[in-house]
Structure formats: structure tokens, C-alpha cells
């Protein structure tokens, strides 16, 4: 393919470097510095995709971020990405892109039938059509909508690219490097302020790259280049291109997405693909410019109809003609600049100006160049299906309501200019109360809420001289306030052509007998007639009209459509635009890739991984790990071909018959010190703590103020004013915060300090009838007999030269001890335990066996203490002191908590003693009762009892106290299981608790 629409010379592209790329399977060439859009246009490709609703042919409308049509599926280095704007995607060698939203191909699209059925797809179509019958939703409507909607396909593959987050602070953040951004950045930088200047595009300079102006005897571009190169040299300035500030959040925090590698065929080694910047700025200067708005006319979505400024940019930046027979349709002087540029490149444009007799320097220049200008003329409709072939034009009356006779003009593109809309998204996101500016027919920033100011075109200032003056001054003033330093920049001489006022004309009336579709929102296919229907149906609030018609709700967020939509609503409603008001602008200004938002917090990096000091021993001994919060814990130790079930059964059985050792380092540990430590414990636990002797441990339960159990654990009195508290692994952080809350805010008079020591101690639980024998070998100098170290006793001992703490506590129901040593000695301790235990048949056991042991004991854990149960429910009412008050006690006397038939923990055994019971199943009286079957309780935990060799579960059951011996059914609709069961005591092993005391 030849680049038949590429100019012989000109543009900012590098013609020495040819780049090959593929679009819809065909090979093309472009140049370095092209966007995918400019390269396609250069090759004469104008059909890019199909529209969202009617599947009408779509081409290019803009040249940048405002593009509503040219959205492609991109293929780069073996990966694919949807929703890429061809106008933003820079060309790289080997780039591949495909059209979206068309099937089977962009040229022949079946969905285009919607276009001929458009009478059936008016505003609110989805709401009206897919409402009923309800049963149709799942099988018919949803798949239909899903297939018809969407703009591309997300990859389901793991994204191999790296994305980074960066936090930055600055004095001034300036968003956009057009004239206002450059001037303000320059004067602020000269005053020594820390400045970040962000430019969305690859080239700095904004409109200076395309306008015929002169600043300090340089062209606009030359001036921009010199300012940028000076700024880049300054140590207090960060200049970033390809960086979009897309969100303005609270307390002057802005988020910017920097596209580091998207313009390259492949991300460089050690480079991220994109970087998200969280910038906390003292002051923000918004210099985001403005976006040209279209004039609405018939078939104004035909490929070849585009913004006049975009046509100019394609010529001036990329050396590309958008057409060779251009029609410029304008209501202001901007269209003339585009026409002049065409003329300079040897193309004869025709200007249709809606104004009657406009006069200005620019118009004079066009006239002098012999450009054909038709005043009081409008485009009534574009003709041509896949590309503009001609335009129906007509004279329009002075009141803009009557059309003259229709003439047809041959053309291959229609460049539209309906004046300019300031880009106020960031200002609006910051909470700025925007106001309507009658002169420019658009909203501009008003009263600031945060430290933000808007400059230049974004503020509705459209002359270069005024823009530069204002921007130099604001940059200087704001930075001076911060740095107390002034280094004033002299104002350059500015030459620009004067323009005259625009015509407040935005929509061409329909000619008699014609019913052309006149589009407002190009991406969502919202036409004038849709808004009219919505208003007829009674929608009034602009927010409702927006949602009903989907105006401005596409991925371009209505950058080119919002104001014309407002104009229409206000015209029909006979209100002024500010009374209608604009819809809310929300971040992101332009779509941001999910990868950038997630950053490096993916997979294993999504949260920290905590490992115990014995982790490498577990690894070496075939441990299979499980995530326990952020901890990695051995779930079981695999031997040979064993599976989880077999291994955990073996491990648990070995604890019941010999001795096992379990890594319990993950348990939360809190060190409590101070003269009032006992008093604190007495207030947070439900049982009595004032009389616990030194060297003794006690089991305790703590509640929330609403009476629900928060956590349980043992606390040991190490010395007079020193306690060692343990919490469950899951609640460790919450319990510490809870204690701090009461100590700092509720009872500051208590003289107590608390600190987490979870990571300071490595812990091993040695459990089983032979555990004392192991202990004797480990601590030959200490008396670990039943008298020397009784149940719930504590002692400090010497473990072959290492200081150890021994707690005689049990989670398994067997004779058991927990040994703690400083973390650095954890591995040493573990090896010694394994060594000493060898002759007694010691085996390490994981969390699965640990669970089995506690379940058959009826010892409650996280699945019972789930934030919904009170002590009674867990058979812990014996631990509630009647004599003292404590956190949450008052709540326990609430009616529901004191009810006679209150839920209570029970044991559950299947009648066949074989079928295992799924956790989370419901308990019901009658398995054949009509649905919804009244639920009596739920299975909280299940195991295979190694003591009895049959399944056993714990359940929280209504009136559990009186249900022992009853027969019920367990139902699991999820697993399609109905199991007849018997309710038994929750203490299935050693109900009298003799073993722990043996």
C-alpha cells in the first residue's frame, strides 16, 4: 500500500524511519512519530470499526484523547489489549491492531441490521425491552446484550508486564504542556519551586505545535522546544510526556498514569510498562486546554466527518491529509485555520460558515488565498455510507430555523468546528463549582475547593497573549508564596492573528420530509431523537437523561457530546444551559489500564508473606503449605503417595497415641506490662483475672461491646506486673488495636503498656501422651513432672543453652506443652524437639490435623467464633463472671441473647458413620419439607474423628441444649447432599478433660 494521503513534506514525523504495521490483517507502512490513526489515514484507511448500538461504519473523529470512534484491539509482543484509541497509540514496528464491535468483518457487519431497525432501538430500549419476563434474563437477554455490547476483548492470560506505583510530592503540578502549562511551569521553576509538568501526548507544546503564532521571534513550536529543554535541565523540575493526570482526589492528591513502554514494540528489560504516580501537590495548575465541539447535522457520524482541529493536526504534526476534497463547516474562525492549512498544501477547501458577514484577520487571510467561502451556509447531511462522498448543504435563515434549497457538494471529508469546550474535568473532580460562560457557550471553572487554578483555554481564554500573561503571572505568584523567592521572567513579544466572535449555532434543523439521524454521542450512538424521547417520557434531571439515553456514558465520557446534549435539553425544556447543569465528571479522565491501578501487588506480591523461623525445615520435610491470613503454615507433611486426608489422619492419630509437634509461631502474642495489667485483663476478659498467681496461665474469652465473642486465648502471668497474652492467628492485630483503644481512650488512668511480640517468639506445641517424655529429654535440669509443671503451669527453662518458656496448655485435648524461644532460636528448638522425640515416635503435624484434634475435642475456633456467636452459643457461659463487669457484659442480658431456645454448639454424627458432612451445610428437621425449608442450624466445622474413626462435625444449632440425641438432616444444596444425622455432645473425645491434666 502506498501512503497516498501523506504530504510530500512537513510534519514532525521522522521520514527516515519507515515502520511496518498490520491492521485487520493487512500490511501497511507509516513513519516514526505517527500514531496508528495518522498512519492509517496516510494509507487512505478511514473505516475503523462499527458503532456500539447500530453498528454503523465508524472512522476517525479526532486526533487525541477525545476520540470517540477509533477504538481498536491492540496486539503487542504476544499480548493483547482492548479499548486502545488509534489516535493515541503511537506506531511501533510490528504493531498489529484489529477493529472491534464488528462481526464477521468491519466491511460487512451483521449487527448493522440494527441500523435499519433503529425504530426499535430508541432511548431506553434496553430498559423497556429487557424488563420482562424475568425468566428471559439469564438465558436470552443477557447473552444478547453481552454479545452486542463491548468494545473489544480483555485477555484472559496472565499479564507478564510490570506496572509500578510511585509517590511524589511537589509544590506545583501542572497538567498539560500547551502555552499556559509551559509559561506557568517556567515562571514557577525560575522561582525555585519543585514543579512537575505532565503532558499526555508524546510531544510537548499542545496547540503551539499546530497554530500559526510567533513568540519572542520564534515559531510556537520553537518556543515550546526551547522552554522544555531549559526546564529539563533544571533540578527542581520533572517533565513527563506520555503522562495523563486522570484523577483529582481529596487533599490535593492527583493520580497520573505514565505510559513508559506502550509506544515500543517490547518493554525494555527492567522497565515497567506503565507507572502510576500518586502526586500530592501544594498547588495545581490545570492547563489541559480545550476540545473542539462538533456541530450536529444529519449523518454526522459518517467516516470522513471529523473535527476541524484534528484535520489541521494531521496535516501539521503528521504530514497527512484527511481528504483531498475537504469541506470545512464552521461557526467560528478556527475552521478557517484548517482551510488555510489545506490551501497551503495545495488542496482547495470549501468553507461553509454559519455566520452571515464575519470579519477578522484570519478570515481576511483566507479570502486573500482565494478560498471558497459560503456564508450563512450549513451542512444538512453527509452522504455516503462507509465514507463521505458528498454533502447536502443549504443556506440558513438569519434566525437559523429555515433552510434554503438543498444543494449537493462533492467532498471526501467534512471538517467541523462548533467552537471550543474547556477541559474542566480535573477542576470539576477537585470539587470546583463550575460556572457557565455565555461568551463561549461552555462551562468554566468557578470557585475552587482545593488548591487548584485553571489556565488558558481550559479556563475559556482563547487568545495566546492573554493566556501567556495570565500563566506567567499565576506560576510566578503561586511559586513565590511557597519558595519566598522571585526571579521574574520577562514577557515575550507575541504575534497572533485576531479572530472574531463565534456563532452560537450547534444543531442544523432537519429539512422537510427527511429524518436523518443527528448524533450527539458518537460512541454510544445517542441521537437528537433519543433525547427528545427521553424528555417526552418525563425525564428531566440531566443525570437521569444521561442514564436513560446513555449520553456521555461511553469510555470517552462525552468529551465531544456533553455540551451539545445540554444545549438540546435546555432548548426543549426552554431553560438556559446553566439551569440544566452538567453531569458529574468522575475520574479517570481517560481510561486507565487495570494493570497500572494494581501495580506490583499481583500474585504473591498482593500481600506480604509471613513465614515462621522453622519454615525451611517444613519445606525440607515435604510440608504442603496453606495460607493462614498472611502466614504460610504447613497444612500437612506428605509421606509417599499420601493425600491430604490420609496424611492429616496419620498426623492426628499420632498425637492421640504418641506425640506430635506443631509450629504455632503464628499465634498472636501480646506483651502486657504495668501495675494495672491484671485490672486490664479483668475488664477485657469475661472471667476473673485478679487472683491469677505468678507462673500460671488462664484461658480467657473476650467480647465486643455488643456481646459477640471477639477472640479467645490463654494469658500467662510471667511476673507480678508482666503478662503474656496469646490470641488467635486471625485476630492478633484486632485484639492489639482493641486493647490500645481502651487504654488510650476509655481507661487512660490504667497504668499498662501493651506491645505485639508475635514475631519475637517462635512457638512449638508438643502434644500427645508421650509429650512429657520428650520434654524431659529437652529440659533435663527442669522438673517437668505433673507436680513440677501442672496443667496451666508456666516455667522458664534452659534448652541446651537457649532460654525457653514452657506453657502447659493444650489445644488438642491431650497432655501438651507449648515451648517458646526467641525467634532466632526457633529452628534450633525445632530440630532439638524432633531429635528428642524420635524414640517416642514424634511426627510433625499441620493445620489439618490440628483442626481435627480441636474439632473432636469440641474446642471452638474461628469457624465458631465467627462474629455472630455469644459465649453461650459456644458453651463458654461457664467463663462468664457474675461478680464483675467487663466489656460487652451488659449486652448479654439482651432478650435474644438470653432466650431459652438460644442456639448452642453441638456435635453431629452421620447415622451411617461414613458420609462426611460438608461444612456450611444446614440442619433441618424434615428433608422433604417445602422450600424454604426452615433452618435449625449450620455445620461450622467437620473432620474425620481419629478417636472414633468416623466423621464428626460441630454445629451451631437452635435450642442445641435440648437437642442432644435427636435425629435431624444435614442438607447441602450446593453439594446436592442430604445426610441423616444424630446430634451429640460437642465433646467427642475425653469429655471430662482428664488427659490434659494427666
Amino acid at each position: 500500500m502506498t501512503q497516498s494521503f501523506r504530504l510530500e513534506s512537513g510534519g514532525l514525523i521522522n521520514r527516515d524511519k519507515k515502520i511496518s504495521f498490520k491492521f485487520n490483517g493487512k500490511n501497511y507502512f507509516g513513519y516514526e512519530g505517527d500514531t496508528l490513526a495518522s498512519a492509517l489515514i496516510a494509507n487512505g484507511v478511514h473505516l475503523i470499526g462499527r458503532s456500539f448500538k447500530y453498528h454503523r461504519p465508524r472512522g476517525f473523529f479526532g486526533a487525541g484523547v477525545d476520540e470517540p470512534y477509533a477504538i481498536v484491539q491492540l496486539y503487542r509482543n504476544g499480548e493483547t489489549e482492548p479499548n486502545i484509541k488509534a489516535t493515541e497509540q503511537e506506531l511501533f514496528e510490528g504493531l498489529e491492531a484489529k477493529s472491534v464491535n464488528c462481526w464477521p468483518s468491519v466491511n460487512f457487519d451483521i449487527g448493522a441490521i440494527n441500523n435499519f431497525l433503529k425504530i426499535f432501538l430508541p432511548a431506553g430500549f434496553y430498559y423497556k425491552t429487557f424488563m420482562w419476563p424475568k425468566s428471559f434474563w439469564y438465558k436470552i437477554y443477557e447473552p444478547f446484550i453481552r454479545r452486542a455490547a463491548g468494545l473489544g476483548t480483555a485477555s484472559i492470560k496472565h499479564d507478564k508486564e510490570r506496572y509500578e506505583h510511585k509517590y511524589e510530592y511537589c509544590d506545583l503540578l501542572i497538567t498539560g504542556s500547551g502555552p499556559s502549562g509551559l509559561a506557568s511551569a517556567y515562571s514557577a521553576a525560575k522561582n525555585g519551586a519543585k514543579v512537575i509538568l505532565a503532558e499526555d501526548k508524546s510531544r510537548f507544546g499542545g496547540t503551539l505545535l499546530t497554530s500559526e503564532v510567533n513568540i519572542g521571534n520564534q515559531s510556537g513550536k520553537e518556543w515550546a522546544d526551547s522552554i522544555i529543554s531549559e526546564l529539563k535541565e533544571m533540578p527542581n523540575v520533572t517533565v513527563k510526556n506520555r503522562s495523563q493526570v486522570f484523577g483529582y482526589y481529596d487533599h490535593n492528591m492527583l493520580v497520573m498514569s505514565e505510559r513508559i513502554s506502550d509506544h515500543l514494540p517490547k518493554t525494555k528489560k527492567f522497565h515497567p510498562k506503565q507507572r502510576l504516580w500518586y502526586i500530592r501537590a501544594k498547588e495545581v495548575l490545570i492547563s489541559s486546554g480545550s476540545i473542539e465541539r462538533p456541530i450536529v447535522f444529519g449523518n454526522n457520524d459518517t467516516p470522513g466527518v471529523m473535527l476541524s482541529s484534528a484535520a489541521k493536526e494531521y496535516m501539521k504534526v503528521y504530514g497527512v491529509l484527511v481528504g483531498k476534497k475537504p469541506l470545512v463547516f464552521t461557526n467560528n474562525d478556527s475552521g478557517y485555520e484548517t482551510a488555510i492549512e489545506f490551501k497551503k498544501n495545495g488542496i482547495d477547501p470549501i468553507i461553509l460558515d454559519t455566520r452571515k458577514e464575519p470579519q477578522s484577520e484570519i478570515i481576511e487571510e483566507a479570502k486573500n488565498m482565494n478560498i471558497n467561502i459560503k456564508n450563512s451556509y450549513v451542512v444538512v447531511a453527509a452522504q455516503g455510507y462507509k465514507k463521505v462522498k458528498s454533502a447536502d448543504v443549504a443556506k440558513i435563515s438569519d434566525n437559523k430555523e429555515e433552510l434554503g434549497s438543498i444543494e449537493n457538494i462533492e467532498c471526501d471529508c467534512i471538517c467541523v468546528s462548533g467552537f471550543w469546550t474547556p477541559t474542566i474535568h480535573l477542576a470539576s473532580q477537585s470539587g470546583n463549582k463550575t460556572k457557565f460562560n455565555e461568551d463561549i457557550d461552555a462551562f468554566v471553572p468557578g470557585i475552587s475547593k482545593q488548591n487548584e487554578k485553571t489556565l488558558g483555554a481550559a479556563n475559556g481564554i482563547y487568545t495566546l497573549e492573554e493566556t501567556l500573561k495570565d500563566s506567567f503571572e499565576k506560576g510566578n505568584l503561586l511559586s513565590k508564596k511557597i519558595t519566598n523567592n522571585e526571579n521574574k521572567v520577562s514577557f515575550p513579544n507575541v504575534v497572533e492573528k485576531k479572530s472574531t466572535v463565534h456563532d452560537k449555532f450547534w444543531c442544523v434543523p432537519l429539512p422537510k420530509g427527511k429524518n436523518y439521524k443527528r448524533f450527539l454521542d458518537f460512541q454510544n450512538d445517542v441521537a437528537v431523537s433519543d433525547i427528545e424521547i427521553a424528555l417526552k417520557e418525563g425525564y428531566r434531571s440531566i443525570e437521569h437523561v444521561k442514564r436513560y439515553t446513555t449520553l456521555g456514558m461511553a469510555t470517552d465520557q462525552g468529551k465531544t457530546s456533553n455540551l451539545n446534549g445540554l444545549q438540546l435539553v435546555s432548548k426543549i425544556e426552554n431553560k438556559v444551559v446553566p439551569a440544566v447543569g452538567h453531569t458529574t465528571f468522575r475520574p479517570p479522565y481517560s481510561p486507565v489500564s487495570i494493570g497500572a491501578i494494581v501495580g506490583r501487588e499481583v500474585g504473591k506480591h498482593s500481600k506480604p508473606t509471613r513465614k515462621s523461623p522453622m519454615h525451611s525445615w517444613h519445606e525440607k520435610n515435604n510440608a504442603v503449605f496453606v495460607d493462614a491470613g498472611v502466614w504460610l503454615r504447613p497444612r500437612y507433611y506428605k509421606r509417599g503417595e499420601e493425600n491430604l486426608f490420609e496424611a492429616s489422619k496419620r498426623e492426628a492419630k499420632n498425637v492421640r497415641t504418641n506425640v506430635g509437634v506443631c509450629d504455632v509461631t503464628t499465634l498472636g502474642k501480646i506483651d502486657i506490662k504495668g501495675p494495672d495489667a491484671a485490672e486490664l485483663l479483668n475488664r477485657v476478659y469475661t472471667n476473673a483475672w485478679l487472683k491469677l498467681p505468678v507462673g500460671k496461665a488462664r484461658y480467657g474469652v473476650m467480647l465486643r461491646e455488643d456481646g459477640i465473642v471477639m477472640d479467645d486465648g490463654t494469658t500467662t502471668r510471667i511476673s507480678e506486673n508482666h503478662y503474656h497474652m496469646t490470641t488467635t492467628t486471625a485476630q492478633a492485630a484486632n485484639v492489639l488495636s482493641h486493647l490500645e483503644y481502651y487504654l488510650q481512650l476509655v481507661w487512660p488512668e490504667l497504668n499498662v503498656n501493651v506491645v505485639s511480640t508475635t514475631e519475637q517468639w517462635a512457638g512449638a506445641a508438643i502434644a500427645g501422651p508421650k509429650s512429657r517424655e520428650v520434654l524431659k529429654k529437652l529440659f533435663p535440669k527442669s522438673d517437668v513432672s505433673n507436680e513440677g509443671l501442672p496443667f496451666m503451669g508456666y516455667m522458664e527453662a534452659d534448652l541446651f543453652g537457649v532460654k525457653a518458656k514452657i506453657f502447659r496448655i493444650s489445644f488438642s485435648g491431650e497432655l501438651a506443652y507449648e515451648v517458646n524461644v526467641e525467634s532466632d532460636n526457633g529452628y534450633f528448638m525445632w530440630e532439638k524437639i524432633i531429635e528428642a522425640g524420635e524414640e517416642f515416635g514424634i511426627q510433625p503435624y499441620g493445620t489439618e490435623a490440628l483442626s481435627t484434634l480441636r474439632i473432636e475435642m469440641g474446642h471452638v475456633a474461628g469457624s465458631e467464633l465467627d462474629g455472630r456467636t455469644i459465649p453461650y452459643d459456644n458453651s463458654l457461659e461457664g467463663l462468664i463472671s457474675k461478680k464483675k463487669d467487663f466489656i460487652g457484659k451488659r449486652s448479654l442480658s439482651r432478650k435474644a441473647f438470653a432466650a431459652e431456645d438460644r442456639q448452642k454448639i453441638v456435635g453431629v454424627i452421620p447415622l451411617d458413620k461414613k458420609t462426611s458432612i460438608p461444612e456450611g451445610s444446614h440442619l433441618v428437621k424434615d428433608s422433604n419439607a417445602p422450600l424454604p425449608n426452615p433452618k435449625l442450624g449450620y455445620i461450622s466445622a467437620s473432620c474425620w474423628s481419629v478417636e472414633h474413626d468416623n466423621p464428626f462435625s460441630l454445629a451451631i444449632l437452635k435450642d442445641g441444649k435440648n437437642m442432644i440425641g435427636k435425629k435431624l438432616f444435614v442438607m447441602s444444596p450446593l453439594k446436592n447432599k442430604v445426610i441423616p444425622v444424630e446430634i451429640v455432645s460437642s465433646h467427642y473425645v475425653d469429655p471430662k478433660g482428664e488427659r490434659v491434666r494427666s
Binding site: 481529596d250 492528591m253 470539587g431 461491646e705 488510650q744 463487669d885
Partner: protein, 89 residues
Amino acid sequence: MLHIKCPHCGIRSQNEFSYGGDATIKRPELGKEISDQDWDNFVYNRKSLRGKHWELWQHLSGCRQWIKVQRDTATHEIFKTLKANEEIS
């Protein structure tokens, strides 16, 4: 993301803090008789105010102190922060 001035550490980002609810709620004294209504008011009943609101935050990833923050719930403006032992005036 908010910027919160911890009275102990200075200005820090919101992600170092955790939210703790209404700072004006006083816990009833331990061991004192209290009506069901008063207890419910303490445990459950909260006003969802629009506007200036004194609330608790804990500087969890910093000094671990609970602090009192006066914030506008609609605009997120923060007017004042106090240490736990300073009275709201």
C-alpha cells in the same frame, strides 16, 4: 486519599490510619446500672452526620495512637486533630 495530621507524627497519608467511628460517644462506666435504651444508644445508635464530625482514627502503621479528627463528612475537609487525652471543645 486524605492527608491526616497525627498530633504525634505530623501529616501522613490516610492509608497509615484506620477509622474508629464517632469520637463523642462515651463508654458507660463499668459496673453502673444502665437502661436498655442507653446501652443500645452506646452500642448501636449512631447519627450519620453530613458536615463537621469528630471521629476517631488510629495511626495504625505509625505511632499506634488513637486520635480525634474533626472532619467534614461531605467535603473531607479536616479542621483539627487532637490527641486521645485532649478534650473536644
